[in-house]
Amino acid sequence: MAEVQTKVAEEKEPFFGKKERQLLVDPLNDNNPITVQVLGICSALAVTTLVSKAIVMAIAVTLVIAFSNLAVSLLRKGVPKQIRMIVQLVIIAFLVTVVEQVLKAASYPIWKELSVYIGLIITNCIVMGRLEAYAMANDPKRSFLDGIGNGAGYGIILVMVAAMRELFGKGSLLDYKIIGNTSEYLIDTTTNPYFSWYMPNNVMVLPAAALFVIGVIIWVQRARNAKLVDVS
């Protein structure tokens, strides 16, 4: 009796097995939405001047992808094929509006800074891309994990870019002042003998700098990850 039971349990797929882990980890490196699939670049350029903004944006996008994946996966068998894109868009737009309203209530200054870009999550290619590529063909649990994974993959790049732009452009990280020319900063370049040459790089604050930084990240990633090198 006991033997039979263990056999059944072994054959059944575990709740969180290798496949599920893959769904979460793959988008972080091998199949990153920004650096490998090159989706969602526009918002990555716009919201990466400050780490705090990037983190809020990453959380918002992750929530929207995860829950729209979940919803579309639950509905996937009943959705009429003719209007499936419209159904997906309604779900995305609904979730984005809810996220925006909640953010406006939770932190008004951050909403004020992000406002346009929160609304533009609707057009973020990552969201629709995952719905079409994954959620339409897979069960709700895996679709949800796929959404979390892709959101995290998007977020990790966003935060990396924002950290470099904020540190070299403004001399701070998460608004904690690190290097600059007043005594408010940890390293005061006017008095510190080793850093008197330092000047913040204003180019890093400009939108174009995000492109350079993402370019460098893609370069480093491809140099280190043999799987991403084109064979041709």
Binding site: G78, P80, K81, F94, Q101, A105, P109, V203, V205, L206
Partner: protein
């Protein structure tokens, strides 16, 4: 392939469901949004006198900001001739709406801060930057001449260039101690390129943001001019 009837019913039910839930969320959160916005505006005004407050503005809680505003700040609204308007609070004046009215019908807010010993008059100005509107709050001392603090805001100036009027505290700090009048004549304060020659009335422009800097100059000259009759009337 699904029948047309199925598709139609599916669409109607889904849209109705989504709109009902959204309506509930939006109406439910509206009071929170409104109080958040009011506090945000109060902080924006106080930013011009942040060095006078004695505490760090960012560390004040929302309740403390509301408290400070009701205890220390007197609100006056003036009309285009500089006469005080009764029954209107300065906070309710929206400069963006006022500038669409004919010049003679516009109203302007004045916030009078009464701190320990020091009194400051906070005047709102609005003008054009490179891409869109820019605005500011100018705090002047009770000699009605010396600026003690400024804060600027913008809709969409370029980050790193024009947006520095808001993001870079050293830009607004330059205005401290500048004077609006020269021998009784209103000359305002100009943002100039290539070094300040007249330290009482000029500040350094932001490199690469000539049009935004000129916009600040124009905004200060035109925006402060409307307050002159009012300032003259309370001085006498």
């Amino acid at each position: 392939m699904y029948s047309n009837k199925y598709v139609t019913v599916y669409t109607v039910v889904m849209t109705l469901l989504v709109s009902v839930v959204l309506a509930v969320v939006v109406t439910g959160l509206r009071p929170v949004h409104e109080s958040n916005e009011a506090v945000f505006k109060k902080r924006d005004v106080l930013r011009a006198i942040k060095d006078e407050l004695g505490t760090d503005l960012a560390s004040l809680t929302d309740a403390e900001v509301i408290d400070l505003f009701s205890n220390r700040i007197e609100q006056v609204v003036i009309d285009a001739n500089g006469q005080p308007v009764e029954g209107v609070s300065a906070e309710s004046v929206d400069m963006a709406k006022e500038e669409k009215k004919p010049a003679a019908e516009r109203q302007y807010p004045v916030f009078i801060y009464r701190g320990d010993g020091a009194t400051a008059y906070l005047l709102s100005v609005r003008g054009n930057g490179l891409w869109d509107k820019i605005w500011g709050t100018i705090a002047i001392k009770d000699d009605f001449n010396t600026i003690i603090g400024t804060s600027f805001g913008h809709v969409g100036e370029t980050p790193g260039l024009g947006a520095e009027i808001t993001d870079n505290p050293s830009f607004s700090r330059q205005f401290q101690g500048k004077q609006l009048f020269d021998k009784g004549q209103f000359v305002s304060v100009s943002v100039v390129k290539g070094g300040v020659r007249n330290p009482a009335h000029q500040v350094d422009a932001i490199t690469g943001a000539t049009i935004t800097s000129n916009g600040v100059t124009d905004m200060l000259r035109d925006g402060l001019a409307v307050y002159l009759p009012y300032l003259a009337s309370i001085r006498n």
